[in-house]
Each structure stands twice: as structure tokens, then as C-alpha cells.
Symmetry: C2
Subunit: 247 residues, 2 copies
């Protein structure tokens, strides 16, 4: 083995269990934020986790705007309120009441908001791995969001991704220059608890799709031929066992 490489061993069972428990209990938090501040050392650890996400051509195209100022958050919230009302009217009449009853963001309740952006010019016009799929840099910023989210869960915090507003409004409120894309607007804070399953599932809005229906072999559409049906059922039990609280 190349001595410069780290050995490719699995993590210990407890460490691996930590990752899986994080993945299977992570939730989008909207209504459970507590007002107390987040310790700065934890916030820094979350940002460092995001900064170690994969990025195309090692471009690291992200910035992180930490928003604590209540006046700035009020302006973002106003953009949400406007878009939320527009959104309600897009649904069929019978769904509009349910839609309006859903709590979809915690912009003002969460003590910290974070806007994760993508600087499309971070590494010049030609970027390794982005020559043919131009959106790869945006995808890198999304990977940073997911790292941040998982770290937040492991630290016992809640995070919610707000996507109901006109991005141009957010761009204006945060003085984000042209050429920089606001990819995600996140609400972060301590929470009173985590929902046991996604809220839209509990509300009967949508169910979890059986994974077996989503896995194909070699070609699109070869449903049920993955040869993994039994293992996927077992993995589902594994996920459930990691989604339970041991506290």
C-alpha cells in the first residue's frame, strides 16, 4: 500500500453508528426553535464541516453569511411572507387551507440564519470538472449545506432550509453581488426537540416512497431487478433502529 495513503478501514461500529444516527434523525426544523444563542465554538465547527464538503475542481465556491441582526431577518421574513401568499394560491383550492396551516420557516425565532452562496467565478472561467456540466459549482455549495446540516444535528441543534421567496429579494437584502448565487437560506438554533418523522409525512401530505421502487440496475426502469430487495428491507430496519432515541 502507498504509505502516503490513509488506510481504508471502516470506522468503528460506534463511530459509524454516530453518522447513521445523524443521517436518520436529521429533520428540517421550522417550529421548535429556542431563542437562546448558539455557542460560537459550535457554530465554527459547523462552518468548518461545510468548508470540507467536496467541491468541483477544489473550487470551494461557497461563502457563509451569518445573519443575527433582527432587522435584516425581518426583511428576509417579509420576502418570505410575500412569496408564501403567492405560493398558497398556486395549489388546488382543497390544498390551500392545509398549505396555509403549515409552519414552514423559523427566520425570526431561530437566533442565527445562514445564507450559503456560490461564487461562480471563484476559480476563473475554466474549472476542472465543470467544463461540461456548468451547475457543478452550485452542487458543491449544496454539499456544504448538507455537511453543515448533519453537523448541526450531531451537536443537538436544529436547522431548517427556507426556499419560499424570490432569490433576488434575498440577494438585495444581503447586498450579494451579481455573479454570486444565494443557494440556501438556513435557520439554525437550539430546539425543543426533533420530529420523529418528516412533518409533511405526519401531516399526510406525502409518504416516504419505498426505496425498492427507486433502485434500478444498469438501465432506467428495471424496477425490482436490482437484486437488492432483501438487503434494502434489512437496511430499512437498520435505519429505524438508528432513528430511535436512546436517551
Amino acid at each position: 500500500m502507498d504509505a502516503n495513503l490513509l488506510p481504508a478501514k471502516p470506522l468503528s461500529a460506534v463511530e459509524r453508528g454516530g453518522l447513521y444516527r445523524t443521517i436518520f434523525t436529521r429533520r428540517d426544523t421550522r417550529g421548535e426553535f429556542l431563542p437562546e444563542p448558539i455557542p460560537d465554538d459550535i457554530l465554527a465547527r459547523l462552518l468548518t464541516s461545510a468548508h470540507h464538503a467536496p467541491s468541483v475542481g477544489f473550487m470551494q465556491p461557497w461563502n457563509f453569511i451569518i445573519i443575527k441582526d433582527i432587522e435584516v431577518r425581518r426583511q428576509v421574513h417579509a420576502a418570505f411572507t410575500k412569496a408564501h401568499e403567492e405560493a398558497a394560491q398556486m395549489f388546488p383550492l382543497e390544498q390551500q387551507e392545509i398549505y396555509r396551516s403549515l409552519k414552514l420557516e423559523g427566520i425570526l425565532e431561530a437566533p442565527v440564519n445562514i445564507c450559503v452562496t456560490c461564487d461562480r467565478d471563484r476559480a476563473g472561467p475554466v474549472v476542472i470538472g465543470r467544463t461540461h456540466i456548468r451547475t457543478m459549482d452550485i452542487y458543491s455549495s449544496v454539499c456544504a449545506v448538507q455537511n453543515l446540516w448533519l453537523a448541526a444535528r450531531a451537536e443537538g441543534l436544529g436547522l431548517g432550509w427556507v426556499s419560499i421567496f424570490d432569490n433576488c429579494e434575498v440577494q438585495r437584502v444581503l447586498s450579494i453581488p451579481e455573479g454570486i448565487v444565494p443557494v440556501a437560506y438556513l435557520c439554525l438554533g437550539k430546539v425543543s426537540g426533533y420530529h420523529r418523522q418528516p412533518e409533511l409525512e405526519t401531516a399526510g401530505w406525502r409518504s416516504r416512497v419505498p426505496l425498492n421502487e427507486l433502485v434500478y440496475l444498469n438501465q432506467w426502469g428495471s424496477e425490482g431487478q436490482s437484486g437488492l430487495s432483501k438487503e434494502i428491507r434489512e437496511a430499512q430496519k437498520f435505519a429505524q433502529s438508528h432513528a430511535c432515541s436512546r436517551d
Copy 2:
């Protein structure tokens, strides 16, 4: 506290350490794949992790095409080779030789390839949270990729994201219908080891950007005013301590 909620406690130090070690040692693998097959139970656990990613409106827009067939992989590899040569010519002359020397994929060496897609119509035309930012469903599929990647690392496997080809070619080779977007093409397998730092960093192509330069407070461009400089330096040490092998 609402008895229906799981308590929002941090994970234990060891479990949290498992997540952080995964995040800080995850690499994009291209050249270290071993030919032996991956156990199906581990593959199923990776897919289940991906399936538990956040998704806008609980849309779960992803499918996973597992590609083991060597003939299919050869066709994808041909698409890569074509695009790779086109890409080389986009770089300034002095960079072309370095670019050509880089190993950027393991399509044929890795025993398993996975194409992660996004079905834009999975939940009908109006989706909660996607009314104003249409790309949110694509972002959900990217979050699934990142979950899968981290689970692969925790299991001691390697994963590489190949993005150098014309997506239409991949779509044709895998018979992916119109309306379904191929978001990521992944190579997965056992590996001889993990690089200690990103290969493009080692190659001198790009350095890691100091995180402090990327964090702003309340507005774009307020560099150095985040109030987190000290904590970010500490978190950097924390990251390094989790990036070391203990084996």
C-alpha cells in the same frame, strides 16, 4: 416538552467524532479502486442513507441506477474520454499538460457505478418549497449524493463523482427519459487507501481557502467582522485532529 418529539441532545462525543471523522477524511476517489465486489448489505445501507436526505416538499425526487454491467460502463467511459479531450483544450496551454496527467475518474476500475437522478415531476407541478426556486428538487438529489458519500466513507469505501461528459450522452446510454435529470454519476468501490488531502491540493492546482475569508456577518463582504476568527482557528485544529488516522 412535547412528548412526541425526540429530545434534542447532542450525540455522544464518540458518535459525534464519527460524523466529524467521516466529514474530514472523505475524499473524491479516482485512482485507488480495487476490483473486488461490494457486499450488497453495505450497498443497501448507502442507498438507504441517500434516501433519508432532506427533500423539498418531501418530494424524494431521486432514483438510483446501479451500474455493474461492464458494457454500459464502457459506453459511459467513452463519453468521458470524448469530453475529457474537449476539456483539456479549454485550459491555457501551460495547464493542459498537468490537466491531462490528472486521473479524474474510475468508471471501469470501480466495481459499481451509481447514477443519481432527479424526477422533476415526482410530486406534480406545484411542490411545497419549490414554488419560487425551481432548482430545489435538484438540490435535494445533491443532498442524497452527499449522504451516500459520507456513508461510503464510514464503511471504508471510496467514492468519486465524475462530471466530465455531456449529460445527454449519459442519459442516452442509461435510457433515462426526458424530464429526469442525471444529477450525479458516481464510482464506488473498495480502495487501497484515502489521500490525506484533496489531490488537486497536493498537485498544487489549488489551495484550501482560509475559512475566515469566507464568513461574513449580516451582509455580504464584511470580511473579518464575523467575530468568529478565534473559534474558526480552533475548529480548524479540531478538523485536523479528526483527519488523522488512528489505525
